[in-house]
Amino acid sequence: MINDICIGMAGSGGDGIVAAGEALLNSAAAAGYHGMLTKSFGPQIRGGESSCRLRISTQPVLNPGSELDVAVALNWDDFLKFGSELPTDARSIVIYEESAKTPDGKLPLKIAPGEAIAVPIAAIARAHGGDRAKNTVVLGLLSAWFGLAPESILAGMRKRLKKKGPEVIAAAEQAFQAGADHARANPLKTARLMAPPAARQGVWLADGNDLTAAAAIVAGCDFFGGYPITPSTEIMQTLSRDIWAYGGSLLQCEDEIAGIGACVGASFGGKRAMTATSGPGMSLKTEMLGLATIAELPLVVVNVQRGGPATGLPTKLEQADLFQACYSGHGDAVRPVLAPTSVADAFRVTVDAFNIAEEFQTPVIVLSDQEISQRKETLEPIDTSTVQLVERRRPTPEDLAGGYKRFKLTPDGISPISHPGLAGGEYLAAGIEHNESGAPASGGANHQRMTEKRIGKFAPLLKRRELFLVEGDADADLGIISWGSSAGICREAVQTVRQEGLKVRILVPYLLYPVAEEIFSDFLKGLTKGLVVEQSYQGQLYRILRSFITVPNGVRPYCRAGANPFRPSEIVAQIRALAQRSVP
């Protein structure tokens, strides 16, 4: 019995391989397993190659896994196009279309897999409903060989095909059974059956973009303004369906500048506003972010990172927009930057982002990434009844009585904020430097005070330990820091090496900026070696940390450019090697 399985599949666009992955994850989730699914496509809009990676486990999973336990290739050309995204090793079981066999029978893989099985998938499919049934045959094969929730798969299939009538359902069942029969008739060299899932109360399934959109609704988002861009578009798509029902509204704008501009307007009007984009759009929003900063308007900006610079790698993972998130605008400005590490996190980070925006009257940047945004993941049910929403500080009647000062210098740097509609709160908001009343003011002393206010007000944020996750051994001399979707990979790697007896600890910041110097320094205390792991060539978080805190010499960046994600096994190897090395 195994507890965790990692399956990768690839085929041509029409093969429905991604649909098979979705069906398998849905069924496994319904059966009570944990799991996640990531998809990858060629550059074509339609046709071309497509693939997915599926991980199913009896335990919670933190990432899409390491080398594949099972690889399914409907043809080798397509499979090989995904290179490092579908890595096999000497332990993998490779299932491939029999007719794709090379004349010499050799597999086009660098490492010979543990077991290679040619299956006449197309032929079986043709016998049971035709070419389009190939993915159903694959489901049959997988469910029988690996004991993957056959009942649940069949139930899902029936539900999905209900509208198409009983004949279609029957044909699908036959294809599925034919696959399963083939598997039973050709058992694996070593059986690898999944252990049954633990009994669970509830299982949720979501991808990052969809959950972010829903989280925004829970967080009271009244307005969304945006412009489509991969891989963030689904946030707008979901909200364009759902936001109206809650009295909210949405503008698909003419560009990203207008998108964030509309949010600035809505926020000026007292509403909770959000926009979502990716790198190129983020670059265009830079000026408007500065306006929201100086006018001290709450605003949530989600950047679903993809590979850069410029158009870069629109459909691939990279974590290289951190510099931009922290430092993009002209002038002295600080904007909080948060990052989820998983789909589940997307909920709390989105709610936190709205709350921080409102509390501190500031734009907040959420750095999601391509992986989180589009991977489907099982979640524990989220209890929304405990969510606390923070409202911006409204002026009291006294504030409004004697000449309302929108930018009043208060001890905590936060001034009561009015909005159009509120009698007595009229003021001039502006992008120009202003005095407490909002009138333009160009003096140096005033500018110093106002800059201090706008930056100093974030001090309490740096104390919020709940925006950081620390796991592992307090007495370790080796530590890992990682963020975003790389963090889930590192957390698993840390668990693995700790089970091997190594002492390690890991810090995962959800709040990336401003740098919570004390929290990072506390974590680093006692460390002589370690890694800051991030999917960017420059190791951006490492650089930013160094500029605020003393990072021990032995703690080094471990990073590379995107589209070639880390695997837990790789990080495990790095930690092992580092543990053995003596650092002077």
């Binding site: 989280a215 509204s249 207008a258 501009g261 307007g265 929304t384 509609g421 992008g431």
Partner: protein, 291 residues
């Protein structure tokens, strides 16, 4: 804020305008005070959004909620404000550069969405605030500090553009005719939908002579007097072609049957979609695959 909402003085703030003596924008400001007084809504229900430029300073001189944003982006900001707060009366103002150069990409979209906004452009055919550069409405061949040998480009035609974009109310006025301008702004504010008012507001420092107001007054050609009552859009477009040559004032086009505004459509959809009064806290329910 206190004071009667139909007294122009109610809308005058303590900030002293820093425009040059003789600048046309003073007159525009007066017309705005008067038009707002004619409408009579309280200051806190009004928002006045502008970009950056001499002209864009105007909201600061009023007592309503003002937002002097960034160069060229007043319209997107105003649209977000209005969509999320449909009960507000929202004015937008800026210069020819703000509106038709850097901000020119936003105009067609604000118009085709038909937000209920009133957009007044103080068109002085120059960049005033930055001291005299070529603006999109500067006549071809004109010399400015960035076109010392004369400009190469045909000017933008704000009136024709906005008509082509489908604006429901398109007018032109000048502070040289203050009552006329006031009436146009007031009508724009009352028009249910996007209203565009181009104002020939002279820049006496970098563009026009000190005598400009007087010259304008002599050159005024009220459209009504020419028999154009604004109901014929094509005729409006034809007359708009004379922009830059003839100083037509009045309404080029007024849609006699205004279509629903964006804000109305939004409210209808909200009512429609929200009739089951969904609870925000249940927005995640749909993610459950096993209960």
């Amino acid at each position: 804020m206190s004071g009667a909402c139909n007294d122009p003085k109610t809308f005058k703030s303590d900030l002293k305008p820093i425009w040059c003596p003789g600048c046309g924008d003073f007159g525009v400001l007066q017309a705005v005070y008067r038009a707002l007084a004619a409408i009579g809504r309280p200051t806190h229900e009004i928002a006045f959004i502008s970009g950056i430029g001499c002209s864009s300073r105007i909201p600061g001189y009023t007592t309503v909620y003002g937002f002097n944003t960034v160069h060229g982006r007043a319209l997107p900001i105003a649209q977000g404000l209005k969509t999320a707060n449909p009960d507000l009366l929202v004015l937008v103002a800026g210069g020819d550069g703000d509106g038709f150069s850097i901000g020119g990409g936003h105009v067609p979209h604000a118009i085709r969405r038909n937000h209920d906004l009133t957009y007044i452009v103080m068109d002085n055919q120059i960049y005033g605030l930055t001291k005299g550069q070529l603006s999109p409405t500067t006549p071809k061949g004109e010399t400015t500090v960035t076109s010392p040998y004369g400009s190469f480009e045909e000017p933008v035609n704000p009136l024709l553009y906005c008509l082509a974009y489908g604006a429901g109310y398109v007018a032109q006025g000048t502070p040289a005719d203050l009552p006329g301008l006031t009436a146009l702004i007031e009508e724009g504010l009352r028009y249910p939908g996007f209203a565009f008012i181009n104002i020939q507001s002279p820049c006496v420092t970098y563009g026009d002579s000190e005598m400009q107001m007087k010259e304008q007054r002599a050159a005024l050609r009220p459209l009504l007097a020419e028999g154009h009552d604004g109901s014929d859009r094509i005729k409006g477009m034809d007359l708009a072609q004379q922009y830059g040559r003839t100083l037509h004032t009045g309404v080029f086009y007024r849609n006699p049957t205004p279509p629903p505004t964006y804000d109305q459509l939004v409210r209808e959809r909200q009512a429609d979609q929200g009739k089951d009064q969904p609870d925000r806290r249940r927005a995640l329910d749909r993610f459950a695959v096993r209960h």
